[in-house]
């Protein structure tokens, strides 16, 4: 299907299945999933809609459940009046800690809703929906102190009721997702978003799995990295590191791969009565791996931070080079692949998948190059480092399993693929390079910078999984020894002259990126649009060359020239 018909607009995309995870696995797909039993309970986001305060929407009217003086939302420096508004919230906290307070009115954009006297508000969920509808803009709330219970035997005559005690506070409704990184802010503590879901000792917990319903527990995981099978697990069971296991398996020692069929897995899972009592045996999962008795801190925590911002920037500049050079290596490998229509029908689906995944990793490296540059321009803008030109020079060496190797443009032969897997192996080389960056950014740098660096590391783990899957798929093709790999085009490196159209396009991409990155996150539509067009031209030209048996010589300059930064090239 997919090799012949490609969906273009939204309704077409909705009608067709494509390679990759289904949209239901994405965070944004959970918007409607607001009730217990789903992957997380969105209502918990709104409990903290107002910086510094935590509400409970389970009663009418909603009550103030807690105050949070360390809420990072209260230390936001923008918009301009945020600090002043935070001060007022902080000042009110001493009073708000005493006695009970209810949320009695909400106002935004000229509209005020009186919660004590609103019609059709018999259901607590209505109050939550009201808060859910607030825009992430300024909102004013009124809190009313609930009077103490009247004495059991009232002494007549009762004095006139005193005027209710209220507090009026204004702040910006919290943004639940960081606009740069898509990360949920730190203010939500571990477990807070899932606290209202079913619990591990309940029958529901077992049955809510991804084949049936969005789930709040892992379905398929990777095993512990040091499973006590033998001294050297990797030798005895080479696939162990990447074999998917069913997290709910009753035999906790089993290393049998999870089946793609839910029914097959179900037979081997903890039964309902078992989960009531044996839920404690289920493993915690961190970074996709089951964790045994003691969690050993990984590279991130142990890495030494850099002493200065300039040192950090030097490292980031060199990491940009690394992202850039592996991206070019992956692209070269990508163009070495045949089109699905050029192989036997039995292999066409595999190749569609392999091409998709390899390109996805290359695109992800492009994104990392952008993010690493963003870290640099953010530091320069905040005056932490002297301004420096955008880092757009590909590196000269790539760290891999056996130390560093010189950069190389190679077709996707099995040994090259094994090398890619090694480069992307978690805590191997690439993400290890980021460990010190993350360790440094954890100290007094803007949170969004840390999140960006973490996201690069997280995607690196994904790259490893993707390359491993590519290796598994291509490894299953039977190839006579010495015969050429059927997925590869015969490719030799083109001369610069043969590849001049492709190289012109690549230079244009760099020149546009250089101008766009120079000014940081200013919306420079013209540069980005033209860069995007040049990139499409590059794709077209590189594919044309590859069809003619020529690989694009992506390294524009000799290694000794690439020790100097890339400086603006004229565009065509």
């Amino acid at each position: 299907m997919t090799d012949r018909i490609f969906p273009r607009n939204l309704t077409a995309k909705a009608a067709i299945k494509i390679v990759g995870n289904p949209v239901t696995t994405r965070l944004e797909s959970g918007v409607g999933n607001c009730f217990p039993g789903l992957e997380f309970d969105h209502r918990n986001l709104d409990r903290r809609f107002f910086p510094g305060l935590v509400f409970n929407f389970g009663v009418i009217p909603p009550i103030l459940a807690d105050v949070d003086p360390v809420d990072p939302g209260l230390s936001a420096a923008s918009p301009e009046d945020a600090a002043q508004l935070s001060q007022a919230v902080n000042d009110a906290m001493a009073d708000l800690r005493l006695g009970g307070w209810t949320l009695s009115s909400i106002a935004q954009g000229g509209r005020t809703v009186d919660l004590t006297n609103a019609p059709n508000m018999g259901d607590p969920a209505q109050f939550w929906r009201l808060v859910r509808d607030l825009r992430p803009e300024k909102v004013t709330i009124v809190l009313t102190k609930t009077p103490p219970d009247p004495p059991v035997a009232p002494t007549p005559p009762a004095p006139p009721a005193p005027a209710p005690v209220t507090k009026t506070l204004t702040h910006y409704r919290r943004r639940y997702i960081d606009s740069d990184t898509g990360v949920i802010p730190d203010v939500f503590r571990p477990g807070e978003l899932t606290q209202s879901l079913c619990s591990p000792w309940m029958h529901d917990f077992r049955d809510c799995a991804c084949d049936y319903w969005a789930s709040n527990h892992p379905d398929i995981v990777l095993g512990e990295s040091s499973f006590p099978l033998g001294d050297n697990l990797a030798d005895l069971d080479p696939q162990a590191a990447t074999r998917p296991l069913d997290w709910l398996r009753a035999d906790r020692k089993s290393r049998v791969a999870a089946s793609p069929l839910a029914r097959a897995n179900e037979a081997l899972q903890l039964r309902h009565y078992q989960i009531n009592t044996e839920w404690r045996s289920l493993a915690f999962v961190l970074e996709g791996h089951e964790i045994g008795a003691v969690y050993a801190p990984g590279v991130e925590q142990m890495a030494a931070p850099f002493a200065s911002a300039e040192e950090l920037a030097d490292e980031l500049t060199s990491l940009c080079g690394l992202e850039h050079v592996v991206m070019l290596e992956y692209l070269y490998a990508y163009y070495s692949l045949r089109q699905p229509a050029e192989v036997t029908p039995a292999h066409a689906d595999d190749l569609t998948f392999v091409r998709h995944e390899l390109l996805a990793v290359a695109v992800s490296e492009m994104r990392h190059l952008r993010w690493a540059n963003q870290l640099l321009w953010t530091m320069a803008k905040n005056g932490m480092i002297a301004p420096r030109p955008p880092a757009l020079t590909p590196g000269l060496e790539v760290p891999t399993a056996g130390g560093v190797r010189p950069r190389a443009l190679r077709p996707l032969e099995p040994d090259v693929l094994a090398d890619f897997v090694a480069v992307e192996r978690p805590s191997g080389t690439l993400d290890g390079e980021y460990a010190r960056v993350v360790a440094t950014l954890s100290r007094d740098y803007p949170d969004t910078m840390l999140q960006l660096a973490r996201q690069i590391v997280a995607e690196g783990v994904e790259h490893f999984a993707r390359f491993s899957e590519i290796a598994r798929l291509l490894g299953s093709w039977s190839v006579a020894s010495g015969a050429p790999r059927p997925w590869l085009r015969p490719l030799k490196l083109a001369t610069k002259q043969q590849a001049s159209a492709a190289l012109d396009a690549y230079q244009a991409v760099l020149a546009h990126l250089q101008r766009a990155y120079q000014f940081g996150d200013i919306e420079d539509a013209a540069e980005i649009v033209q860069g995007r067009m040049a990139m499409m031209r590059l794709d077209e030209e590189a594919e044309k060359l590859a069809k003619a048996g020529l690989g694009t010589p992506f390294f524009l300059r000799r290694p000794e020239e690439d020790t100097r930064p890339f400086i603006g090239l004229p565009t065509a």
Partner: protein, 425 residues
């Protein structure tokens, strides 16, 4: 069983061959061999494509609430445009102004059944001939909407020649959607004459210049009418853009008192050429980083992107009605005064039965030749008022335009995806 019936898909040959599925308005790229198989009606290919078919949703009998009402506050005009469908604003009657009690009652009717959002529009004639009422209705509608917890928005269609500084303030502060009737510069604006037979474009621009340079909350669009004696599109857009309009749409004359100005069968192919020229110029601009401005193109591209699939051409009689100076509701502003399109009045309320009958009779699947046309759910069957007056013409023009937009969509979705995903003009 392969189906080969006409009208459920449409092939778009070219460098990137693609196929459009009518139901669900789905667009697919296909490889060349598959395209050829479809063109030859090969059963295997047809059934493969048929697996992707979706049936259009049946709208059912339920009437959606009216969310927009246009008030003909002045059935009179200071201009005398040669092609005017409204008889210089009088709709065949004598010049009249709407009374405040009629306007307020109409707003009450709208808000009484609105859910969440409602739009009050001002139309005519030239609405600013009744300036005082516009200001009063805005204040009244805002207060009434606030009491009913409805968000109310405003729109106006005007020739712009009469607006004052006070009016401009209203348009900015109350975030009006302002549609300005202007056909271009002096060269193109020859039908838009005032009572002294003088060109009105200079007066329109002079009065609106402060709003164009500082729109505040207002969103301003130019709407140019194209008569058969000057089918140019590109030059109009250029001239209007140079005067500060950032959203410009064009619309051909299909009805009206003077046959010499209405487009006839031989004109449609020429207009299509002009529209395609304008679209290609627009695409070249945005691919170089510029902002969109030719709204006919962007409306079509966004509809294609979303896969808009609708049984009717517009919201007339469904979510939109118009009210005349005397308080009678009509299916839209084009049918004011037409007894057959009357949908109740401010006294009786919206006439649900007449609205339902009107819509049922006009569903595109019931129209001939629409029911066999591949473009029917993107087009909706054409303006009801125009079809009633002069029948359907220029269908090849509509299809040609949509074909061009379907091809352009592929490029735009790749090069400037943000322009069709967002709700910008």
């Amino acid at each position: 069983m392969a189906e080969t019936g006409a009208g459920w898909f449409h092939l778009l040959p070219g460098a990137a061959p693609s196929v459009f599925l009518t139901g669900g308005s789905m667009l697919f790229d296909v490889d060349e061999d598959f395209f050829d198989e479809l063109a030859r009606d090969e059963p295997e290919a047809i059934s493969k494509l048929a697996a992707l078919r979706v049936e259009p949703l049946d709208a059912g009998d339920a009437l959606a609430p009216v969310t927009a009402l246009s008030l003909n506050v002045a059935q009179s005009c200071n201009l005398a445009c040669a092609y005017c469908y409204a008889d210089e604003g009088r709709f065949g009657g004598s010049p009249k102004m709407m009374d405040r009690s009629v306007a307020f009652a109409a707003v009450d009717r709208l808000l009484a059944q609105a859910k969440g959002r409602a739009t009050v529009g001002f139309i005519g004639g030239e609405p600013f001939l009744n300036r005082k009422l516009i200001h009063e209705v805005v204040a009244y509608a805002k207060a009434a909407a606030a009491a009913k917890r409805v968000a109310v928005g405003f729109s106006v269609t005007t020739n712009g020649t009469l607006v004052t500084a006070d009016d401009l303030r209203l348009l900015r502060e109350d975030s009006f959607a302002v549609t300005v009737s202007i056909d271009g510069g002096p060269a193109q604006n020859r039908k838009r004459l005032d009572r002294r037979q003088a060109d009105s474009s200079a007066r329109t621009i002079a009065a609106l210049a402060p709003l164009l340079s500082q729109p505040g909350g207002a969103r301003i669009a130019a709407r140019a009418t194209i008569a058969r004696d000057d089918l140019d599109v590109v030059d109009r857009i250029e001239w209007l853009a140079a005067r500060g309009f950032t959203e410009i749409g064009v619309s051909p004359v299909r009805t009206g008192p003077r046959g010499a100005l209405r487009l006839s069968e031989s004109d449609w192919p020429k207009l299509l050429v002009q529209m395609i020229r304008a679209a290609d110029a627009e695409l070249a601009r945005v691919f170089a980083g510029a902002s969109p401005r030719f709204s006919n193109l962007w409306t079509a591209l966004r509809a294609i992107h979303r896969g808009t699939s609708r049984p009717l051409p517009c919201g007339a009689a469904s979510t939109y009605l118009s009210v005349d100076v005397d308080g009678a509701f009509s299916s839209c502003h084009r049918t004011v005064g037409d007894e057959g399109s009357r949908m109740g009045s401010v006294i009786e309320g919206f006439d649900a039965d007449r609205r339902r009958d009107f819509l049922t009779a006009r569903a595109v699947d019931r129209q001939v030749p629409c029911c066999a046309c591949w473009a029917r759910y993107l087009c909706g069957g054409g303006c009801h008022a125009e079809v009633a007056e002069s029948g359907r013409s220029g269908c090849d023009y509509i299809r040609g335009w949509l074909e061009h937009c379907l091809r352009a969509y592929r490029d735009v979705a790749t090069r400037r995806p943000e322009l069709i995903a967002r709700g910008v003009p």
